[in-house]
Structure formats: structure tokens, C-alpha cells
Assembly symmetry: C2
Homo-oligomer: 160 residues x 2
């Protein structure tokens, strides 16, 4: 069995600890487990899925602690809540490495593709300024059909 924080970027635990300490809170084993679970994957997950991942590391992890730590992680900016157009909230651990990405969801197979486009970021900033604001955060979700799926009935690109 792997050590809780084995595979994850140590900078993440550092940033989490800094955030925690700044709030006058404590770094605990339980919180480390949940951070390790959240950043031990690069896919998006629901609260329930994160609970499952955390319990694989520490089976006694409770839902309550999971939710409490999840709030800390989103508040710290390490984890971002995203809207995939499904019924549940999803969380994305990839903003630490790719702070400006967006999401495209394949309506054919459900696969979520992350993309970043600097022209889009610039344009979005322009539009925001033209409205008299300065942009703090944006979220873009594109729902689309796979061209390959349309012609061949298969969805290779999306599954790549």
C-alpha cells in the first residue's frame, strides 16, 4: 500500500499547508490523506468519488471530513469546482498545472477534454474590460459532437 502522500507533487502539500496555517488551522493526517487522494489522479471527480479514493488510503475517512476538507481545497484554489453539465458537482485537480484550461464534453461518449487557448483568454479579457470589469475567473464549457463519430460511428479522438 502506498504512503498517503507518495506520488503527488510535494509543492501541493506545501501550498495546502501554507493555506491551512494562514487560516490558523492545523495540518492533520486526515487532511493529507484527502489531498493525496484528490491529487493522486488527473481526472475529474465528484465528492463521493473522492471519498472512495480517500478511503482506499485511509478506510476510516468520514464523509463529514471529506466535505470539510473539500471546502478548504476549493477555497485555497488548489482544487476547482467545475460544471460538466451533469447532475453533480465535479472537482478538477488540474488547475495547479494548467491554470487557464477549459472543458469540452463529447456528447457522443461523455469524455471530457481539457484545452487552453490563449486567443480565447485574451478575447475574454477584452470583452470583460469593455463591459467595465476586470476578470477574476472564467469558466467555459463546450458541449460538442465528435466529427469522427458522426461519420464512422466511432469516437477515437474523444477516447484518445
Amino acid at each position: 500500500m502506498k504512503t498517503p502522500a507518495s506520488d503527488i507533487d510535494p509543492a501541493i502539500l506545501d501550498r495546502f499547508e501554507a493555506f491551512i496555517k494562514e487560516k490558523g488551522l492545523r495540518r492533520t493526517g486526515q487532511r493529507d490523506v484527502i489531498v493525496a487522494a484528490a491529487f493522486g489522479t488527473d481526472s475529474h471527480f465528484t465528492a463521493e468519488e473522492l471519498w472512495d479514493m480517500a478511503r482506499k488510503i485511509a478506510p476510516s475517512t468520514s464523509r463529514a471530513t471529506l466535505y470539510r476538507t473539500l471546502s478548504l481545497l476549493t477555497e485555497s484554489g488548489l482544487l476547482q469546482e467545475i460544471d460538466l453539465g451533469r447532475d453533480q458537482k465535479y472537482y478538477d485537480p488540474n488547475f495547479v498545472d494548467h491554470p487557464n484550461h477549459n472543458h469540452l464534453i463529447c456528447l457522443d461518449c461523455g469524455k471530457v477534454i481539457e484545452f487552453a487557448d490563449e486567443h480565447m483568454a485574451v478575447l475574454e479579457d477584452c470583452v470583460t474590460r469593455r463591459l467595465g470589469f476586470s476578470s477574476v475567473h472564467k469558466e467555459i464549457r463546450i458541449e460538442a459532437r465528435c466529427q469522427e463519430f458522426q461519420s464512422t460511428g466511432k469516437c477515437k479522438k474523444a477516447k484518445a
Copy 2:
């Protein structure tokens, strides 16, 4: 007291009826009430707020019927579910008149501003095609601070 469907665009009721009939369902007084409530405003609302608006027209309206009709309205495309970054789902009745708008949320006062930008739509289509998809639907949310608020402490633009 106003007639249920008094002030709303009759084309909306027509489109709703067409959708309903195509599904082999029935147009009812109760559904008309909820459609009237939804399109009697141009602001965004939660399910609960729509229930309140519907009960102002027909006090006996039940939550169950509200939710059932809300599903029909989103399925028909007349109403769109949007993510305002708050804890609840919101619904937007303005896509009938402005099919391509997006939302900017003022972090200073919470006001939601609708905007449409054709360059953004074109660029988003490009990006999608470059990824091998054809775009079906997009949602863009920008969270921003009012420049005026930053300097003066007031947020006129956002409240305009």
C-alpha cells in the same frame, strides 16, 4: 389579478405547445401557469423562485408539478439551466430572444450581466473544430470586479 398567459410572448406558448404535442403530452392549465411564470420575468431564477412566481398566479401549484414542468421547459430548449457559480441551479428565460449570450457576474455586488460577442462565438467554434468536434452548446461564465467599484467603492455600472 392577471390572466396566466397575459404578458408573455404568445410565440413561447406556441413553441411549448408544439413541443408538448410532439411528445404525445397534453397542454394543461397548470403548465401554462408555469410557462407564464417563467417567461413573465427576464431575470434568472431558481426552481424555488419559479415556484413562488407560479403560486402568485395559481396558489395551488405544487412543487412536484413545478419540477416536472421545469424539465419539459429545459428539454424543449425554451429555458436554459445556467451555472452562476452559486450553490443552486439557475434558469434563464432569455435564450429565446438572445440565443448566444453569456454571463458575467460582478463579484462586488452579485449582479449578473448578459453579453453576446460574435468574435467569441467564432473563436469558440474554431477551437472546437480544431479539436475534431462540432460545437452543439457552450456556456461561458466570467466572474469579475467592477472597475468603478475598485476606485470609488460604488458599483453603478453593475446596477445599471
